[in-house]
Every structure is written in C-alpha cells, then in structure tokens.
C-alpha cells in the first residue's frame, strides 16, 4: 500500500505550440522578424553603396507584391515586439516606489509605449518633411 514509485510525465515536445504558450512563441518569433528587417536595411544600404543602378533595383523591389507582403509582416512583427517588449519591461526592474507606493506596472508599460509612439512618429514625420 505504501509503495513509492513517483511517475514522471514527459514534457510534450510541442509545448511551445500549445494554446497556453502560443502567444509566447509568437512573441519570440516577432523578435526574429526584427533581425530579418535588419537584413533588409543592410541590403538597402549596400544598394546605395553599389551605385545608382543597384539602388534603383532595390527601390523597384520594394514595390513588388513580395516586398509589400514582407513589409506588412515585418510591420506586424514590430508592433507585436514593441507591445510585448514594454509589457515585459516592468518585470525586469525593481518595484518602483514613488511617495511610499509602488507605481503600477501598467503605468510603466503605457509610458514606454507612449515614448515608442513618439520615437516612431518622429521618424515618419522626419521622412515626410
């Protein structure tokens, strides 16, 4: 009756795809999108270095359906990355105590997202002017 034989359950190899962890896996992959976008930036930079023809080809490629879809995906990835990044931010710092009370994590997240919107907006306005 008192036999002890603990049963160890194996973690599923596909745990990262389960409903519970899907959001986390998507968040991680959005970060891979950041690197893919880095490669696009590098290609554009290099096209300018190589001269007018290469630059024209790069700009032409940007208007192809493939490039547009890619950039829509990258835009979604950047948005997801930015949102989740600032949701995680308050977890990485000590509890912020102001006037004897802890600042809610939501406040920190919202302030950082506001700052990010300003930064991105500044880039867009700078490019348009």
């Amino acid at each position: 009756m008192s036999e002890r034989r603990p049963y160890v359950r194996r973690q599923s190899r596909l745990w990262w795809a389960s409903r519970t962890y899907r959001g986390y896996t998507l968040r991680e992959l959005s970060g891979v999108g950041v690197a893919v976008y880095g490669a696009v930036l590098l290609a554009g930079l290099d096209s300018v270095r190589r001269g007018p023809d290469a630059y024209a080809a790069f700009v032409g490629w940007l208007s192809t359906p493939v490039a547009i879809v890619l950039h829509l995906v990258l835009l979604a990835a950047m948005l997801l990355h930015g949102l989740t990044w600032f949701q995680t931010l308050p977890k990485t710092m000590p509890r912020l105590i102001v006037g004897g009370q802890a600042v809610p994590q939501k406040t920190i997240t919202n302030a950082a997202i506001g700052l990010a919107m300003l930064c991105s907006l500044a880039l867009v306005i700078g490019a348009l002017s």
């Binding site: 160890v8 359950r9 962890y21 986390y24 977890k91 990485t92 710092m93 000590p94 509890r95 006037g99």
Partner: protein, 251 residues
C-alpha cells in the same frame, strides 16, 4: 437554498496509484453541486461518497495554505478557490500539477522545491547582529513596499506548473524560490544579497528563464514571481560585467 436546482457536472480526474497502475489514466466521476461549491469540495464529496481511495492534498480551504494546487482544465489553480459554476457545463479535466512527478493521484513530489526554497538563505541576514536590548531593526513603509508582495508567497507551486522552462529543466531554480529570494534581497534590513545572487548566476539560476511570464498570471496571491526572476536577471547581468570592479570581501 432548498428549492435550488441540483446541478451535476462530470469531472475527469487523472488517477495514479503506484501499487496498481503502470501509468496515470483519467477516471470519470459525476458530482451534484451547488453554486458556491469549489473543486476541492467536489473532490471531497467524491472521496466521501464514491471512492475513498482518491488522494489529494488540502488543508485550509481558503487559499492561504497552498496545498491544493492542481491542473484544472489545463491551468494551474487552487482547487479551493476555483468554483464549479465557472467550469460548467464540463466535463472538467483535473490533473496533478504539471512539471512535477506524481506521487499518487493528485499528489505531487515537493522535495526538490523545498530544497530550492531552503537553498536561497530564506531568512534575514543583518549586516551586524545586535543584542535584543539595542532594539528592533527599523523599516519605513516605503522600504517595506519594495519587497512586500514577494513575502505573500504561499508555496503552492502553481508558478512552477505554469513554467515551461522548469518543465524542460527541473534543476531551474524557478519562479517561487526566486520570489522568496527577492523577498529577502529587497528587504532593507538584510545584507545577504551578494550570497544569494552568487547562487543564481548559473544556467540553473535565472538564466533558464525566458520571460514567458505565465508564472505571474498563475499566482493566486499576486506575488509576481516573473518580476523577481527578471529583475535578478538584470542584477546577474550587471554582476557579470561589473564583478571586476567590486571589492572582494569574502574570505
């Protein structure tokens, strides 16, 4: 009360009796329940009326002892503060806490967790001990606010069941023990931060964490263990780069 409808719900309970069963398997039980009945009460009614061999841990019935943690429809919860009305119409799947070995039915092995808790010096280590006559170690409300939620942990281990990195690496110190560590490292009366941090710089320390964050969502006491782990990841990284600058003062 008397004329309220008697509702029934089906519970699928993962059973494992080490003397008889090769491996765990689900067994179905149907219980009648009322609006205010918890999962724990349903388990107790099964044990009383249907199958006395069903094993599960419980004590306080009011979400303070941390004994009755289990997977309820795939989510780690305290059975005493989870209500059948929220799970209707069912069937409800009830299993022992994920990521832990099963001792018997819904009872899991806690020995490793207890060892982790003990390993992080879970007591205040004052800079210098003073005699009782010298009075208390004083603390302002703001100093207390810096660590107070981390002291609310009830060791229910729901955060470990929510953590896939603990599932992948059972030696990972994990969210609960890190919350306790931060409870002391964040305490203004304590001077043991260095010793505790030195325990968690390794692969099985904070660096197994990938900031999934579900430990904090699982926590029934709003301890926010993800905060404890990740702020110490920052601390551990600082220490990694700046350790050359710090004065070594241990013998």
């Amino acid at each position: 009360m008397a004329d309220r409808d008697r509702l029934t719900i089906e519970l699928w309970i993962l059973r494992y009796r080490p003397a008889q069963d090769e491996e765990p398997h689900f067994v179905s039980y149907t219980v009648t329940y009322t609006e205010e009945m918890s999962v724990l009460e349903a388990l107790q009614s099964i044990k009383d009326e249907q199958d006395g061999s069903l094993s599960f841990r419980w004590s306080c019935r009011m979400a303070i002892c941390g004994s009755c943690g289990m997977m309820i429809d795939g989510t780690p919860k305290l059975a005493c503060s989870t209500f059948l009305r929220d799970l209707a119409p069912g069937p409800v799947k009830i299993a022992p806490l994920e990521n832990f070995p099963i001792e018997r039915d819904l009872v899991v092995t806690v020995a490793d967790f207890v060892k982790k808790i003990e390993s992080i010096y879970p007591f205040i280590m004052p800079k210098e001990t003073k005699p009782v006559e010298a009075g208390e170690y004083l603390q302002t409300p703001a100093q207390m606010a810096a660590y107070e939620p981390f002291s609310d942990c009830i060791n229910c281990m729901l955060c470990y069941a929510a953590c896939p990195q603990f599932g992948a690496n059972p030696d990972f110190i994990g969210p609960g023990a890190m919350a306790l560590l931060q409870r002391y490292n964040g305490d203004s009366r304590d001077a043991g931060s260095r010793e505790r941090l030195d325990l968690i710089h390794g692969e099985d320390g904070v660096w197994s964490c990938t900031a999934v964050g579900l430990c904090s969502e699982a926590c029934p006491k709003l301890v926010d263990p993800a905060n404890a782990v990740n702020q110490n990841k920052t601390n551990s990284a600082f220490d990694f780069f700046l350790r050359g600058l710090r004065k070594e003062n241990h013998s």
